[in-house]
Symmetry: C2
Subunit: 362 residues, 2 copies
């Protein structure tokens, strides 16, 4: 796992070791424990690691005032069935806004919710159609918007979902979902290639070499704004319904193997993203470049409010914690009527890439 | 129709006469012409009047450079069945962004679109379920975002819709829809009362005295953000499906009478809104007040992208003119995690009103 050592050493930063596979919490690797408990421990540990790395970047940028810190905000659902820890940094030197959110919950899905999952192909055996079905979910969700228009926005999310029998409360179905993607304001092909290479490694390692191209394409399809005819950014990986029967799981894959993939992919985020931020956070920029960033932030808002499944689900969930759902929105955004970049300009160059997704590794 | 003469006279502005009922285009009052043609002529004339009034405000604020002007942008649909005229002002002294849009089109609805209208109670006689149904629509749609946080945002829209028999192309159903509403950043009860009084007058005149309270309530219900548990602003009037059978049309009402209401309501917009802008456009404000405006602009974006029917319909329509649909978004917006105004502050005062809509006229 190579990072851009040349540019990072002067800042005293080295993110390569963050991709390792040892953990402080012994539960994570304890195969005798239920997966829900292990995933919950994993996302909490990963949250701390990522918050730490982002605070290091803040500190490196502004050693004199020690950088901005995350506010840590534990919350519980009003119905008492779970909660989470929201870590949010606002108004930093490096980051305009960064949210690193963990949720762990047990609750019940409405029959309509179950019907939707069945409609996309999930099999819940003989659970009746009118049942309120218990489920467990544990996940981490991250959106990071840096100040500098040359430093890209990043998003990452990994989650474990378990559906339980309404009578016995035993798991009847489970799957992993998630991914990570990069949204630059200006094109830097090295950043995109580095991000993709870091995410490809865990795919290759645990799922085999067919997985990355499939999950990369899924990402380009998911983060697509039909009304703009452009993708949100330069992509990454995206997957859902990942269980041992998934077409993206290798033949004979075990649940343990899929969890290993998710652990690796989550751990790959810091080495995939932090070096890029470090490289760009002190880059000079013009007012026009900042304005273009604000316009791209507007597109980010459009995607999240109009198209993102998780956001839409959250907005329709009664008593959902709206601040946790909308923390993904940038602090500032902009819309101009009929804004069209000059042909051949850096603004037009990134638009070309968003209209025709590229293969970054070949 | 009283306006705030005291404050407007020094600016050389007088908007009261804009509420009159004579028109330049003779087609508008020519009862021998089809309603579609008359409505199209009306919205075009109204667009010119409103653009003129807003340019007067720009000029009054900055006489030395003559104020910002609207860009007029005629467009046609890619399928050739209609088009419109978009008048947009950006970066003015008074207005951050103002869009005054007219659309006139003839096209065909998909069977799914027809089914949706039937589901909300519209009767299309014996038009078959699988038919692509021709329709005509003419409308004006306005969103105005001033710079000064003490000057409220306003929205207005009036439209005429006609469904035609697929075989004979004769009208089988028609209705009017629309309304106007005010979205202040800070509460000014006089502004809200003035706006509501100006809109109540055409309701009383053409629909009877039961109409305004009903259309006012409909407005509060429509412009409601369930995920925030607040309305978008201080309301106004809202209506749809207004034909001679509508519960909001007086008994024995004619189509001519409903058109008179729509004409009056459209003409009421300038006297309802322009004096309020004139009163606030030079009011001093702090950086904190501007920031609160930006946060409220964020809510405006949330409403329009997540909830507004017209915007959602537009985003899902293939080959729709996306710039005309999203011109309603403010130029700038802001989101902060868990922002909570201090109790008793002006910020908290407007939130109270948004959480519990008020009767402004009693």
């Amino acid at each position: 796992v190579a990072t851009d050592a040349v540019n990072l050493r002067p800042l005293g930063l080295d993110f390569a070791h963050r991709g390792n596979t040892t953990f402080k919490s012994p539960v994570i690797m304890d195969t005798s424990k239920p997966m829900g408990e292990r995933m919950a421990a994993y996302v909490k540990e990963l949250q701390n690691e990522i918050v730490g790395a982002l605070e290091e970047l803040e500190q490196a940028e502004a050693p004199s005032f020690n950088g901005a810190k995350f506010e840590r905000d534990a919350w519980t659902r009003t119905d008492g069935n779970g909660g989470g820890m929201s870590c949010v940094l606002s108004g930093g030197r490096v980051f305009e806004k960064a949210g690193v959110m963990v949720t762990v919950m047990e609750s019940k899905m409405s029959p309509a919710g179950v019907a939707q999952m069945r409609a996309r192909g999930r099999d819940f055996g003989d659970i009746p159609k009118d049942a309120h079905v218990p489920f467990f979910a544990a996940g981490i969700s991250i959106v990071i918007h840096p100040n500098n228009p040359h430093a890209p926005t990043a998003h990452m999310n990994y989650r474990y979902f378990e559906v339980r029998d309404p009578k016995t409360n035993k798991p009847v179905a489970w799957w992993f979902g998630g991914g990570a993607d990069l949204t630059p304001t200006f094109l830097d092909a090295n950043d995109a290639a580095h991000f993709h290479a870091q995410l490809k490694a865990p795919c290759d390692r645990s799922l085999g070499k067919h997985a990355y191209p499939a999950l990369k394409e899924w990402c380009d399809e998911y983060f697509y704004l039909p009304h703009r005819k452009e993708t949100r950014g330069v992509g990454g990986i995206f997957f859902d319904d990942l269980d041992t029967d998934s077409p993206h799981a290798p033949k004979g894959a075990t649940k343990e193997q899929l969890f290993a993939f998710v652990r690796d992919a989550g751990r790959a985020f810091v080495p995939a993203y932090a070096p890029t931020v470090a490289r760009h956070m002190r880059q000079p920029y013009t007012a026009a470049e900042k304005r273009w960033q604000q316009l791209r932030r507007g597109r980010y808002v459009e995607f999240n409010l109009v198209l993102d499944r998780g956001t839409k689900f959250g907005l329709m969930t009664p008593n959902a914690r709206i601040e946790s759902i909308l923390v993904s929105l940038p602090e500032t955004a902009r819309w101009e009527y009929c804004h069209t970049p000059v042909a051949g300009s850096p603004e037009a160059r990134i638009l070309d890439v968003l209209k025709t997704p590229r293969d970054w590794l070949n």
